[in-house]
């Protein structure tokens, strides 16, 4: 995988958050302030544009640019969280031109660590971490087990989707939804939902090219 994988990942995210925009808005309206779809679309639209203007940067650098772009266009909670995530992930790759599955898993692990560090959320707090952490754990484990990347990524995406659905019965302890107290129970977390889209987008980007 190389810079094209990252560009393709970002384009895949852009089109899937766009397609799910209203759904994300709806989820956020129920337990937040109804802007999550708008925020993600604004951010990844800008990312695709920024990467389109780039010529020849290595993949790690592209992730850093993407992260910066998210920080500088999204706002909200998701902007700094995903922005720092991609920047931290990008730093893992340094100036490498290509990277393999194990390295991809380390990129995601660094991204997750950054989200947890900045947002101080743990598994079960009903946030994006609930989709992100199982995805990272699954990817790492499957790759360590020697599974082919395509399959490992598909399982990681499934784990994210399961994590996303598992947010429904939870009571939120971070983010806006926590203001609702018990009323947050019974709703799927918007950030976990977009995170599942992001991991699924990665699976598509990484497998379509190989």
């Amino acid at each position: 995988m190389d810079a094209a994988t990252i560009s393709s990942w970002m384009r895949e995210i852009d089109s899937s958050v766009r397609a799910e925009r209203d759904h994300l808005v709806q989820l956020d309206a129920a337990i937040g302030d109804g802007d999550h779809g708008t925020n993600m679309v604004r951010g990844f639209e800008a990312v695709v544009q920024a990467l389109g203007a780039d010529n020849g940067s290595p993949p790690g650098r592209l992730l850093i640019i993407a992260g910066r772009t998210l920080v500088s266009t999204v706002g909200g909670a998701s902007g700094p969280l995903w922005g720092s995530a991609l920047r931290s992930g990008g730093r893992v790759l340094g100036d490498q031109i290509t990277f393999d599955g194990a390295q991809l898993a380390e990129v995601l692990a660094a991204a997750l660590a950054s989200v947890k560090d900045l947002g101080t959320a743990s598994l079960g707090d009903k946030t994006m971490v609930d989709a992100f952490e199982p995805a990272v754990d699954t990817l790492r484990a499957r790759i360590a087990d020697g599974e082919p990347l395509a399959r490992a990524l598909d399982e990681a995406a499934r784990a994210a989707e399961a994590g996303m659905r598992a947010t429904i019965p939870l009571q939120a302890r971070k983010g806006r939804a926590s203001y609702l107290g018990e009323r947050s129970v019974g709703h799927q977390d918007p950030g976990a939902t977009s995170t599942a889209l992001i991991i699924r987008a990665l699976q598509r980007a990484a497998t379509s090219e190989s």
């Binding site: 302030d33 500088s72 700094p80």
Partner: protein, 340 residues
């Protein structure tokens, strides 16, 4: 007129441009007080930076007008960083604002406690520090509807923000140093509590849909300022009953000393008219006095809003002589003005 352009009960051109267009209008109306830096989407006090004066900036999602842009001016904020509607601004805005107002004496970031605001301000403060600007940050969290706990995002910042901006702005205008101004905001935040209720949701321009659906005859208790639902829904009682709930929520948490002098701030959420806000103030004033608390200052009006939401919040700030003096000091902004 094109019927398809606008299906909401709003005056809009492009929903995506509403914040920028509104800021343009604010600047056109108040060019004597402030300027609009279009590129950075910030509102900056006209005579900034003021050498030697501690500068105050705040920011947050738009949709809460006049907060914060309407509070830029003499004796209050030096700059405001407005995000998209209900979306916190990006760090670049706060950084640009910080650089625009720094007069060498340091800059205070007044941040309402929302994850998005806190994180974006944090990144901005780090960047500003990298550029050698002294920045302190105070997080406002006065909303008693939300339980404060190590395991939650903590209480929201609501009405106390307005009071903190006014009072700390006066301190800064009077020459207080960075530590003193920062401490003043913390004191206001420590001595203020708020509670909000909603009789309707509001409609963010980007989605065009109400955030929640509240049937007539129902009230959301414990709402914030982002059109989000509250802690619980109940049948809407009389104004007196609703004010009982608000006063009880605020006072039981604030626990002011008997005989305390307070500032009572009855705030409209945007869609509740002044006729009702004054009716509420009448109830608040009476109930506080009955509880042995004396409202010696007050503020009644729509100062921290949720677009066109029908609703109101009560903020009570326990005063001391110093806070009274700072509250009374001259202020000249688009939305608050006295003594000048």
């Amino acid at each position: 007129m094109a019927v398809e352009t606008n299906q909401m009960r709003k005056f809009l051109n492009d929903p995506a441009a509403v914040v920028k267009e509104s800021l343009k209008g604010l600047a056109a109306a108040h060019g004597d007080l402030l300027r609009y830096d279009v590129a950075n989407q910030i509102i900056v006090r006209k005579d900034s930076p003021k050498k030697g004066k501690v500068a105050l900036i705040s920011g947050g999602g738009s949709g809460h007008e006049p907060l914060h842009g309407g509070f830029v001016g003499l004796g209050m904020l030096d700059a405001a960083a407005p995000g998209e509607v209900f979306t916190s601004p990006v760090p670049g805005q706060m950084l640009a604002a910080t650089k625009a107002v720094d007069g060498g004496a340091g800059v205070v970031h007044i941040v309402k406690n929302y994850t998005g605001d806190v994180l974006n301000f944090k990144l901005a403060a780090e960047d500003a520090a990298d550029e050698g600007i002294k920045v302190t940050t105070v997080v406002i969290d006065d909303d008693v509807a939300v339980q404060d706990s190590l395991y939650t995002a903590g209480r929201r910042g609501v009405g106390a923000t307005v009071l903190a901006e006014k009072i700390a702005g006066a301190a800064a205008e009077g020459g207080a140093d960075l530590a003193k101004v920062t401490d003043t905001i913390k004191r206001v935040n420590a001595r203020a509590r708020s509670f909000g209720v909603a009789l309707s949701s509001c409609v963010p321009p980007a989605s065009g849909k109400a955030i929640f659906d509240l049937p007539e005859g129902q009230i959301e208790l414990g709402v914030g300022i982002h059109g989000e639902p509250g802690r619980r829904r109940a049948p809407l009682g009389s104004a007196s009953e609703v004010v009982d709930i608000m006063v009880e929520a605020v006072i039981s948490d604030l626990k002011p000393k008997h005989g305390s002098k307070v500032l009572a701030f009855v705030n409209g959420m945007g869609g509740t008219p002044l006729l009702e806000l004054y009716l509420i103030y009448g109830e608040v004033d009476e109930k506080l006095r009955k509880a042995g608390i004396e409202p010696v200052r007050n503020l009644v009006g729509s100062y921290i809003t949720s677009l066109e939401m029908a609703g109101a919040s009560l903020t009570v700030l326990e005063l001391d002589d110093d806070l009274i003096r700072l509250w009374d000091a001259p202020v000249h902004t688009a939305a608050l003005r006295w003594g000048v």
